[in-house]
């Protein structure tokens, strides 16, 4: 008896016999009746809903936005004509577009750093055992689950130039002067501060998501591995770098990908806080695309501006997927 037969497979000699058997001419219709064809059909049938879902809900809108970007479509005209790369050229020529592009990159990078730091810290915190842990776990997701309009309006009040609660606390603590003084920060009025304020709200809203993703990864690590590392004398950071991070890498990458997409396409925070002002200091690509595409009615140019997000997203996407794929092997 061979190893193969022990595992239930045919004897090698038998397999050879099957291979060497004369192939009977089969008609096209009978091919469908073969076992492998039926298996394939069954597989594709199972896959079809997911493929259809992706095609209809992701592929079709994406292709439609591609068409809009190369057309002169506007909101009030049902007929659009092909204009080639004219809309991209128009965006390229816009001073505001480059400001929005730069702000988008800054927004993405700074927000990612802070979300990474805060998310990791929170995830480690939630791993510990303490009283009220369940309550805290529930509370931390509140920013993520609150309707964005409500939470951003609350922030708008906190950033108010006159009645800011943040300024009030800082003033009471003696860190800044009183209202009207030079040191009184105007959160949404000073260009760098305004961008920082918008990023802060984005970080506040979405770092619980990062924490939850990381927490899911951390809890999947076998404790024995960590205990063994501890016995071997690894410090916390060594364990984090050499054990935790490699083991949760796929989850980390997927989380990173989601976060990048969410951050780059986040229109609401900036739109509700500043509409892109003052003097375009907080303008990001989604806001510009919305203002030109929907409010001013130029769907074509709006779509072209929105599509400039793709070159930003694509490298991240490829990097992440390649890394995950490589680690699978």
């Amino acid at each position: 008896m061979t190893t193969a037969s022990l595992h239930g497979g045919p004897e090698p000699s038998a397999r050879a016999a099957v291979v060497s058997a004369p192939v009977l001419p089969t008609s096209h219709a009978s091919w469908w009746r073969t076992h492998s064809a039926q298996r394939k059909t069954f597989g594709y049938t199972l896959l079809a809903p997911a493929a259809l879902y992706v095609l209809l809900l992701v592929g079709a809108p994406f292709l439609f936005s591609l068409w809009l970007a190369v057309s002169d479509a506007n909101v009030g005209d049902p007929v659009a004509h092909f204009v080639g790369l004219e809309n991209f050229r128009a965006a390229w020529e816009m001073d505001t577009f480059w400001i929005a592009f730069r702000n988008s990159v800054v927004f993405l990078v700074v927000a990612a750093i802070f979300k990474g730091l805060l998310g990791t810290s929170l995830a480690f915190l939630l791993l510990q055992n303490f009283r009220g842990k369940k309550l805290i776990r529930g509370l931390v997701v509140i920013p993520f689950t609150l309707p964005i309009a409500i939470s951003v309006l609350s922030w708008k009040w906190m950033y108010d130039s006159q009645f800011s609660v943040i300024n009030w606390v800082l003033s009471r603590a003696g860190l800044i002067g009183s209202y009207g003084s030079e040191s009184w920060p105007v959160w949404l009025g000073q260009p760098k501060l305004a961008l920082a304020a918008c990023i802060a709200v984005n970080v506040w809203r979405t770092f619980p998501f990062s924490a939850i993703v990381l927490l899911a990864g951390f809890t999947a690590i076998p404790l024995e591995v960590l205990d063994a590392a501890k016995v071997d004398g690894c410090t916390f950071f060594q364990r984090f770098r050499h054990i935790v991070t490699p083991m949760i890498f796929p989850i980390l990458m997927i989380g990173f990908l989601f976060d990048t997409v969410f951050t780059l396409s986040d229109l609401s925070v900036v739109y509700l806080l500043t509409q892109g002002g003052p003097a375009n200091a907080t303008k990001i690509l989604p806001v510009l695309a919305y203002q030109i595409g929907i409010q001013a009615g130029n769907l074509g140019r709006g779509a072209a501006i929105a599509l400039f997000l793709v070159p930003l997203l694509l490298p991240a996407l490829i990097l992440v997927l390649r890394n995950i794929k490589r680690r699978e092997w």
């Binding site: 005209d77 000073q190 001013a296 009615g297």
Partner: protein, 444 residues
């Protein structure tokens, strides 16, 4: 003698076309006759009318409109009316969605962003009722028509506009021997005097609707212009614009604090109501907010005429509001009937909006107007219809102007100057932005 027969030429009008035109003519004339007799056409009975409009800044107005005005009209005419309210900034997106779907409300309101020229192909021609309403009510103010007219036809009914007058603290002015801010220069002197005493002024140097309106009022009163009357040519590159920019820079340096860079449409309301501001240039919602929240300040808050520029010119850039009917609406007769009724009862709306809704119809603009005519402090508002302008002045509100407004190009010009950029640099940037936007639309 032979009589020459007239040559038979084939008719250019088909039977179908003849029936269509004749049918439309009969329907329109019947509708006009009924409108004239103030009798709703029988065919609207049992139908449903859907209206989409903003959430009014005066909440009591919406309550009255939904529960009384619309309900009474619906009951009287046997029409079921549904009114949906959304924030005014969401109206353009909603309009785009309804257009794309080819379905939605029958009547849709445009607030501030008047999108007639973008959508006119999909809007019902309402020239018939526009004319009849105008005739009955003494005509429209001159700036009304360009808001709704495309290629000689009217595609909307201007419903009301919102003024942004000067609201100033008379007690502070009197205590410092300052003259009422009847000119922009007097307003500047007041700000310069009162800022050191803890009462600065403020106009939004930010990206919000009020910034678009307020800085245009300054520009136009200084003699500047946005486009020529055809709307085709840009007039922003002028010495008047430069002068207005220099004035804004001086006003900011002498009379404002940096908080104006962060302001939204409601910030100046709070600024006045808090008792800090010496004057603001804003809609009377600020006046009403102060009335409700700080009676002491309200008592001393007065309303002034639009300040005059150096040449004595006064132009008040106002927020326009227009009702439109979708072409896809299956209930156009009821929609038209409702709009006629709305305009005929306009004064009720003025009362319910506490003087916020200002009339486009000269008949309604005659003194004394409801509410504002009987309030000594508000009576001055009755003089505004003569000086009202809208975006694009003296040209119409075209699609390139629409983009200029949505991208806040003009307020950004003023902001850049206030932040310290030279007037020449700002002019170069601003004029470049105008030219780029206009040329793109021309190419399209």
């Amino acid at each position: 003698m032979s009589v020459s027969q007239p040559a038979l030429t084939p008719s250019t009008v088909s039977r179908r076309r003849f029936l269509t035109v004749a049918g439309a003519g009969v329907t329109t004339s019947a509708l006009l006759t009924m409108l004239d007799a103030r009798q709703a056409p029988a065919q609207i009975k049992g139908t449903t009318l859907r209206i989409l409009q903003w959430s009014h800044f005066i909440p009591a107005y919406d309550a009255w409109f939904d529960n009384k005005f619309v309900k009474d009209w619906g009951d009287k005419n046997g029409v079921k009316v549904r009114v949906d309210h959304i924030p005014h900034l969401e109206l353009p997106a909603r309009m785009a969605a309804e257009f794309a779907a080819g379905a939605g409300h029958d009547i849709i309101m445009n607030g501030s962003s008047i999108l007639t020229r973008l959508y006119y192909k999909s809007l019902a021609d309402v020239s018939d009722i526009y004319d009849s309403i105008g005739k009955k009510r003494g005509g429209w103010i001159p700036t009304a028509k360009p808001l709704v007219e495309v290629e000689g036809k009217q595609y909307g009914i201007p419903m009301f506009y919102i003024l942004l007058p000067m609201l100033y603290r008379k007690d502070l002015f009197d205590a410092n021997n300052l003259k009422a801010p009847d000119t922009w220069e007097l307003a500047r002197v007041a700000a310069r005097t009162l800022k050191p005493k803890g009462h600065p002024t403020g106009i939004q140097f930010s990206q919000c609707a009020d910034a678009n309106l307020n800085w245009r009022s300054v520009l136009f009163s200084f003699g500047g212009a946005e486009t020529d009357p055809s709307g085709e040519n840009i007039l922003i590159d002028s010495k008047e614009t430069r002068e207005a920019l220099r004035f804004a820079k001086a006003l900011f340096d002498e009379g404002m604090t940096p908080e104006v860079f962060s302001w939204d449409d409601a910030s100046d309301n709070r600024f006045l109501a808090s008792g800090v501001g010496c004057w603001i240039h804003d809609a009377i919602s600020a006046y009403r907010t102060t009335e409700d929240t700080n009676p002491d300040v309200f008592k001393n808050t007065h309303i002034a005429m639009e300040p005059a520029g150096p040449g004595g010119k006064r132009v008040s850039t106002s927020a326009a509001n227009v009702y439109m009917i979708w072409k896809f609406s299956k209930n156009q007769p009821a929609a038209k009937e409702f709009l006629v009724h709305f305009m005929e009862e306009f004064k009720d709306g003025m009362v319910q909006s506490r003087g916020y809704n200002m009339p486009y119809l000269l008949g309604d603009a005659q003194k004394p107007m409801p509410i504002i005519g009987s309030d000594p402090k508000m009576q001055i508002l009755q003089d505004f219809p003569k000086i009202v302008a809208f975006y694009g002045y003296p040209g119409p509100f075209t699609t390139p102007v629409q983009e200029v407004v949505n991208l806040f190009v003009l307020p950004d010009m003023f902001t850049r100057v206030a932040r310290g950029q030279s007037v020449d640099d700002v002019m170069k940037w601003g004029v470049g932005e105008y030219q780029r936007i206009f040329s793109k639309h021309k190419r399209a």
